[in-house]
């Protein structure tokens, strides 16, 4: 069953291309620094030098090798996006299952909290949060977790309520199975598939949020190489050396499109495999 979902997910060429892209970009971000011709903060020439055989993407506003910075710059985005998204699931899925299965006062409390967080526009929330605590990566991650969690929580809760109406869950209760067994064997595996279908969209959202924060100067401090920061700090030269901003923008876009396509394909195949 699981294998068939995977096969279905990758049935379309678009999904396979997306997988290749994801692999390439993850490899680029994690292994890139080992292959980079220069250090990310090394001054190698004049600012905004054009593309040449030595500097494959020219130099940036300070005269650093753009290609090297590009190779270094993917880590933070991917790590922040991945950490925050995964952490949001880690926080929200157990709470959602608990809330959906047991209801009660904790459920009402959690719903109320999620209502309040829902009411805060994401960008505004992060702006005020980072302005009041000072920009730091852990805060960014916590902020994104806070934004994602209630949304995941709601979905998990609804799906759990839906699943718990299934007869196999009732049968398990009637048989005297423990709460833990029911949560881990009956609810969790069945919640995970539909919930993970959104993973791509959320990861994409995290990437965009982090990149936007970077752009507003609330991300990693310079001289760090970071795709979002690279776009904003070189924006001034966009008409001279458009590729400096375009390379990281493309990487961000390609990664998040690819993740989106994969997640989409995954979601569709989950839908289809249910009908079989």
């Amino acid at each position: 069953m699981r294998r068939s979902v995977l096969r279905l997910t990758l049935a379309k060429p678009a999904a396979r291309i997306a997988l290749v892209l994801v692999v390439i970009i993850v490899a680029l971000a994690s292994l890139g620094p080992f292959f980079s011709p220069y250090a990310f903060d090394e001054i190698v020439g004049a600012p905004f030098a054009p593309i040449n055989h030595e500097h494959w993407l020219g130099t940036d506003f300070l005269g650093r090798d753009t290609f090297s910075r590009f190779l270094y710059g993917g880590r933070t985005v991917l790590v922040v996006a991945l950490c925050s998204t995964v952490a949001a699931y880690v926080v929200a899925v157990p709470l959602g299952i608990y809330s959906g299965l047991r209801r009660g006062s904790l459920d009402i409390f959690l719903i109320a909290i999620s209502d309040v967080i829902y009411a805060l526009p994401p960008a505004i929330f992060l702006l005020v949060l980072l302005a009041s605590t000072g920009p730091s990566l852990p805060t960014v991650i916590i902020g994104i977790v806070i934004l994602h969690s209630p949304r995941i929580f709601r979905i998990v809760r609804l799906i759990t309520m839906d699943i718990s109406k299934n007869e196999y869950v009732e049968a398990a209760f009637a048989r005297g199975e423990s709460w833990a067994a029911i949560c881990f064997l009956d609810i969790l595996p069945n919640v995970l598939t539909p919930v993970l279908a959104d993973f791509g969209v959320r990861l994409c959202g995290s990437i965009i949020l982090y990149a936007s924060l970077s752009y507003l100067g609330l991300g990693l401090p310079p001289p760090a190489a970071d795709w979002g920061l690279m776009i904003s700090e070189n924006r001034i030269g966009i008409t001279i050396s458009p590729w400096i901003a375009i390379a990281p923008a493309l990487a961000i876009a390609a990664f998040s499109v690819a993740v989106n396509v994969l997640a989409d394909s995954f979601a569709r195949s989950v839908g289809r495999s249910k009908e079989i």
């Binding site: 009637a174 048989r175 199975e177 064997l185």
Partner: protein, 524 residues
């Protein structure tokens, strides 16, 4: 010759998008005023054939070759506007499930008017037609009724409107796709009568698609039996029912549960000595929220006894079953299980009580965890008995599979890979794994095809022989008559009649029981 016959299907082939043949070489014809019933089990292609008569194939399917002549015109050769003039005009459809067949955000009156407008009617003539049509299906014909939205009407009312709409344009051909399946037992009967009446007074050729042979008996002039996309037998109703030529037809006929008024009597009764009761329910009351749905029900199930709990939808039979198994705790009264008092909530029952009573549900799709293989599913239940050794658990799983007559190879399969009947057996095996004393079967056969139903019933009879007590909840009277020694008839949350099965069926005392008996289709 063809001019005289309103509907002729000539060598129809249909394929799905993967090129699999769904309908193979189907040819049939229906004369003016004649009713042809197409019978088949799920996946036989009968509905595909029915829809193709309107020049339509469901998504994922296509009509690959053949001719469908409606009044001499091949509907498949028509395109766009011309075809639409036929659809709803010269050939109309009565759908299977009335509640999902009406546009939810438009009043029924508007939907009727829309149909008539599309076929050239307008003004007061149209209004008159609508009123007549509603009266002909015994519905109110006032404006207020026409302004109602589909969700405000019952399934039966909606199906009446659907039927009215099928007849309203005086089509040459009317296709009815399982028009009573989605309805309650008691409603089924009246709708069936209505259809029979309308068909008789109309000159249209009717194609009636169903899986229910008993229904066919009421309406059909001729019968076509379909299996795997082919018509295996076609003939007059009498010929097919009395002297079927095909093995499959015979099998279908045999599989139908018959109302055997002397059946259960054949099961040896524990004579003289009073049967030791496994479960005693006393004055059970249950409510959904603040609405009481079960009003003081008392009955008992003896050791090795099968009690049939029969009723229509809303009778409270399912809630009663759920109360017994601890899944519905909003209840009062007392439950005596194996001689001791048992609380209503699952969470306050003892492990031994929980495993001593098991429930199997109606819908096999939802009763197995899709993420667990058959072996995993059953093994989980086996482990609850305290068995931990891997090899021993495995052996127990294998023996359980044997017991429900499933081949060992299904052990590693997932629910998605199994048929409905197989899933239901896995559910039974899982229930048996904890060695219960009482099995509550909640409509366990009603989602299954007739032929599969028969096999499951046979399995249950086997289990009963082994001494397992059963509470068999169903709406299907003939089925109960085959399996239960005693019977309880419920209506609106109360027991209206109870007793030995053969006695109740032979001489029903309550009018509702009589009605149910009459509604039960028979083949003679």
């Amino acid at each position: 010759m063809t001019e005289a016959i309103p509907l002729v299907v000539h060598s129809l082939f249909m394929h799905d998008l993967n090129g699999r043949e769904i309908v193979s070489d189907v040819s049939l014809h229906v004369k003016r005023g004649e009713v042809l019933a197409i019978i088949g089990e799920s996946g036989s292609g009968k509905t595909s054939v029915a829809l193709s008569l309107l020049g339509f194939a469901r998504p994922g399917m296509r009509i690959s070759s053949g001719k469908i002549l409606i009044g001499g015109t091949d509907i498949l050769s028509l395109s766009g506007r011309q075809k639409r003039a036929f659809q709803g005009g010269k050939v109309s459809l009565v759908p299977q499930n009335p509640t999902t067949s009406f546009s939810p955000r438009m009043s029924v009156g508007k939907q009727m008017a829309e149909l008539l407008a599309a076929h050239g009617h307008s003004g007061t003539g149209m209004k008159q037609l609508m009123r007549d049509a509603l009266r002909s299906v015994d519905l109110p014909d006032d404006e207020k009724f026409l302004r109602r939205y589909p969700f405000e009407l019952s399934g039966g009312q909606l199906q009446r409107i659907a039927i009215a709409m099928a007849f309203i344009t005086s089509p040459q051909v009317i296709v009815m796709d399982e028009p009573t399946t989605g309805l309650d037992v008691s409603t089924q009967q009246t709708i069936l009568e209505l259809i029979a009446r309308l068909v008789k007074s109309s000159s249209a050729s009717v194609v009636y698609v169903t899986h229910d042979l008993a229904v066919v008996n009421v309406v059909a002039d001729r019968v076509a039996v379909m299996l795997s996309g082919r018509i295996v037998e076609q003939g007059s109703r009498k010929q097919v029912f009395v002297a079927p030529n095909d093995d499959y037809t015979r099998m279908l006929l045999d599989a139908i549960p018959r109302l055997v008024t002397d059946g259960p009597a054949a099961v040896p009764e524990a004579d003289g000595a009073k049967v030791q009761s496994v479960l005693e329910v006393k004055n059970l009351r249950a409510a959904h929220g603040h609405v009481e749905v079960v009003h003081g029900v008392s009955f008992s199930v003896g050791k090795g006894e099968c009690v049939g709990l029969v009723g229509g939808s809303g009778s409270g039979k399912t809630t009663t079953g759920r109360c017994v198994t601890g899944l519905h705790s909003n209840a009062s009264g007392s439950l005596l299980f194996q001689g001791h008092l048992m609380p209503f909530a699952v969470s306050s029952r003892s492990k031994t009580d929980l495993s001593a009573m098991q429930i199997v549900f109606q819908n096999p799709d939802r009763s197995l965890n899709p993420k667990e293989s058959v072996a995993q599913s059953i093994a989980r239940a086996v482990r609850l008995t305290g068995l931990a050794d891997r090899a021993k658990v495995g052996a127990e799983v294998r023996s359980l599979l044997d017991r429900v007559r499933l081949p060992q190879r299904v052990a590693d399969l997932y629910p998605a890979d199994l048929s409905g009947g197989e899933r239901q057996r896995v559910a039974v095996a899982r229930a048996l794994a904890v060695k219960p004393k009482l099995l509550v079967c909640d409509e366990i056969t009603s989602a299954l095809d007739v032929s599969v139903q028969a096999a499951v019933v046979e399995l249950l009879l086997d289990l009963k022989k082994d001494g397992l007590a059963m509470l068999f909840i169903t709406h299907n009277l003939p089925l109960v008559s085959e399996i239960a020694q005693s019977i309880i008839i419920m209506k609106d949350g109360s027991i209206v009649e109870a007793g030995r099965t053969n006695e109740v069926l032979r001489s029903p005392k309550h009018s509702y029981t009589r009605m149910l008996l009459e509604a039960a289709p028979r083949l003679d």
